[in-house]
Symmetry: C2
Subunit: 489 residues, 2 copies
């Protein structure tokens, strides 16, 4: 065995164990008995300690110092392992285990508090999470910016300052477009009956239309839809709302975007550091391009309108144009995951600013709800009626995901870049989508991006796929064109 | 921290990781996507290597050499840790990982071969498993008996020679009783409709009647019913047969016996070596006493007969006496898990002899089917019609469980001992069971046995609960009395 082979054998085992730990998370949110929460926290902490010990194993340091990569794949593997090693050696094992234990408990507490609309019941636990994550950020930042240190876990190379510049460029055109669209009439709400079983059957059909391989995955229900796992076992969850089947369908398509990305990575990279998505921003670009640029297009709306009439009978919408507008309704919603493509990014910017303040120590958890509600009124012009539609709506902070939210908007920006190029390359795209044929679009995404996994970092992955460095302009151009046409602006 | 505290902190983490590995097994048999088998094998092997390394960690050897226990609990914890350490230091890590990997693959191969009734498709993989287990047995036995070394994993202190003596004492009275019962008329088969959903609802009701805490457990479907996990997360599986609801109900009660045992262990022992069942034999004594002595009693049959009429309408049985006989039908079945209380032990003896021959090297996997069928004809007087009703019916060998089968009959013997004493202590037992009231019986089992977990080894656990050393006589007396009364012998 060469030293590189030894390094990769070690990495392969670590990735296998990381898959196991990830599946514990899936289990917790889908099938775990509720009385098992405390024991599960011990189990997660034990797994985290094992993973942490492997990620900062002394032999890794020796190998990393000694090995010179022979090619781009080896260089990429080593880059990821070095990043993980550097991170692990900076964070004490006890702190990593404490974060695993507390976030495991906090997830259950968050779900209970959200169900009871009781922020105060969750605040002490969230304060624990924030304190531990600040401690972790300080260990990682080594004197630099705390928030950037956490952001780097999800989008290596990104900085809060850079994102702020991007968000500042996005905001005025998004707000102007939102205000214009809000000024014109929208179609009526859906009426009719959408039984859960029929929704789940339609969701499964949509998952297949969008390329999800169910022999290497499965669909379950959970409070918050998510995708989990890599390679041969990539599971998604969805949820249903008896009055709003789009919630189920588009959550599903979104998670299918994440999951097929993982499923389509070159099998030669399986259970290695590059055998997964390149970054959270790139991951989100896949989920968003599936969900929005493809599945919310007026063309695909034609196909879905017909399928839904067959599945659910009449539901109060008379033609495919109104159906497309119903899929792209812009209104005063409170929930990020249900937001339209325009306002979604404003929801993200709110969270980005609040979590930066939490991590900087400028905002106390005790003041978070008030800050959320004030900011929401400022950005959206309406009062948050209850915490489950406000500060308690997302699972992220409870599980310690600070620095994750901005990657959602970064993903939208990346999706804009990819879609611009994809449309140029596939002149028949709209005609294909109108008959529910996604194959050319999915094939383009596979060969240009998905198959490469994490061979390149986020921005480089997009640049490789599109031939140019990513920027926010294509997303804004796409949104203005799409909503302009839909609403006759 | 004292050295004992350090030892227990280490053991606690190991137990938490063992729970995670066990849950991977649950996942594999209930919810895993079928395309994930190869990756899962890698994951299981990685977990096995982690556990193996922890179980033979050098610091364990130092602690075990240095610590003198202060009390019986400490002595029991140390006894279990020493046993695990001795085992782990004898089996090379590569061999342990190979067994984990191959048995993970073999489980899927077995399920496919069983579905296709194709022994040849499975034989090469089973031969791999047998070869690896023989290698493991040789490492463990250090010159002693190979089979005893494997048996010791499930029933510390038991020997094949001792079991053979016990089986020899059981066999003539079992065969004589079986032949007598076969000579008299049995009630007609169940008729009627037993929809899967109603069966599963009844199974859940039975699980609750027998004390299963569903806030710390769950019931799913699987090919082979099993119980998995300890403490706060103990899951069971069941299966349904549209024509035979008893299959589902009594599989469920059986697994509930295993699962409530784990749930009822003193919480102070949670995630420690004694926080689980004492041995496989004692575990089986719980599942069998729940299933047979309690749930197949003529008294409990009265309650269940009434409940089933409410749930399923008429099903061709007119009175509770016939219903009790239907629950205790003795006939020429091929499947161990569906066998009556008398012949069950003959099914076990067949497997015991065959697996001893496999491990001794006296029987080749290529000759196993023929040996099975010949022995089955000798013991049961009928030809095995297809492998899924013969050599392929059980999952055990595919997952490397050699030495496990005899603990089923040992469990029956232990259940006989426990039931003798339980009946003496609870004069109202039959009246209670006739109205579906299990509380006094379950409470007796909890306080006399279950709460103590693995504080004592198998035979000592039974002796502590009953006040006398276990023997086969109470089981034989119970069977002769019960079947004598049921069938007027």
């Amino acid at each position: 065995m060469t030293q590189y082979d030894s390094l990769m054998a070690h990495a392969r085992q670590t990735e296998a164990l990381a898959q196991v730990a990830g599946r514990l998370g899936w289990d917790q949110e889908t099938v775990m008995p509720r009385g098992a929460a405390a024991q599960r926290a011990e189990e997660m902490a034990a797994m985290e300690q094992v993973l942490h010990a492997r990620r900062c194993a002394p032999e890794l340091g020796d190998w990393l110092a000694a090995i010179a990569p022979d090619n781009a794949v080896q260089a990429a593997q080593i880059r990821h392992i070095r990043r993980s090693y550097d991170r692990a050696t900076k964070v004490p094992a006890d702190l990593a285990a404490a974060i695993a234990r507390v976030t495991s408990l906090a997830q259950g507490d968050w779900a209970a508090a959200r169900a009871a609309d009781d922020v105060a019941a969750f605040a002490p636990r969230l304060a624990e999470v924030v304190a531990l994550k600040r401690e972790e950020a300080a260990a990682l930042a080594a004197g630099g910016d705390l928030y950037d240190a956490l952001l780097n876990d999800f989008e290596p190379g990104a900085t809060a300052a850079g994102l702020e510049t991007m968000f500042d460029a996005l905001r005025p055109r998004l707000v102007a477009l939102r205000d214009k669209v809000l000024g014109v009439a929208h179609p009526a709400d859906l009426k009719g009956s959408f039984p859960e079983e029929a929704q789940l059957a339609m969701a499964q059909e949509l998952a297949e239309v969008f390329g999800y391989d169910l022999t290497r995955g499965r669909i379950d229900k959970a409070v918050h839809p998510f995708s989990s796992g890599s390679g041969a076992d990539v599971r998604i969850t969805t949820r249903t709302d008896p009055k709003d089947p789009f919630n189920c369908f588009y959550s599903t398509i979104h998670e299918v975007g994440h999951a097929t990305y993982e499923q389509q990575v070159d099998p030669a990279y399986a259970l290695t550091p590059i055998g997964a998505g390149a970054s959270m921003g790139v991951h989100e670009s896949q989920s968003r391009i599936y969900e929005n640029q493809l599945a919310r297009s007026p063309a695909f709306a034609k196909w879905l309108f017909a399928r839904m009439k067959v599945k659910f009978g009449a539901f109060g919408i008379e033609n495919a144009d109104d159906f497309a507008r119903a899929l792209n309704r812009v209104g005063p919603g409170f929930v990020r995951t249900e937001a339209d493509e325009i306002q979604y990014n404003l929801h993200v910017m709110l969270r980005f600013d609040l979590e930066r303040a939490l991590i900087a120590g400028d905002l106390a958890v005790g003041d978070l709800e008030e800050a959320w509600n004030a900011r929401f009124f400022k950005d959206f012009g309406v009062e948050v009626p209850k915490p489950s539609l406000g500060v308690l709506q997302d699972v992220h902070w409870s599980v310690g995901l600070f620095g994750y939210f901005p990657t959602y908007t970064l993903g939208n920006v990346y999706a804009g870049c990819l879609f611009k190029r994809l449309q140029e390359d596939l002149p028949d795209l709209q005609a294909d989508l109108a008959v529910g044929d996604t194959t050319a679009a999915l094939q383009w995404l596979r060969t240009h991006l998905q198959v490469h996994g994490a061979l390149r970092d986020g921005a480089d992955t997009i640049a490789h796929a599109t031939g140019e460095a990513p920027s926010e302009a294509p997303l804004l151009d796409y949104l203005e064109a799409k909503f302009g046409a839909l609403y006759g602006l």
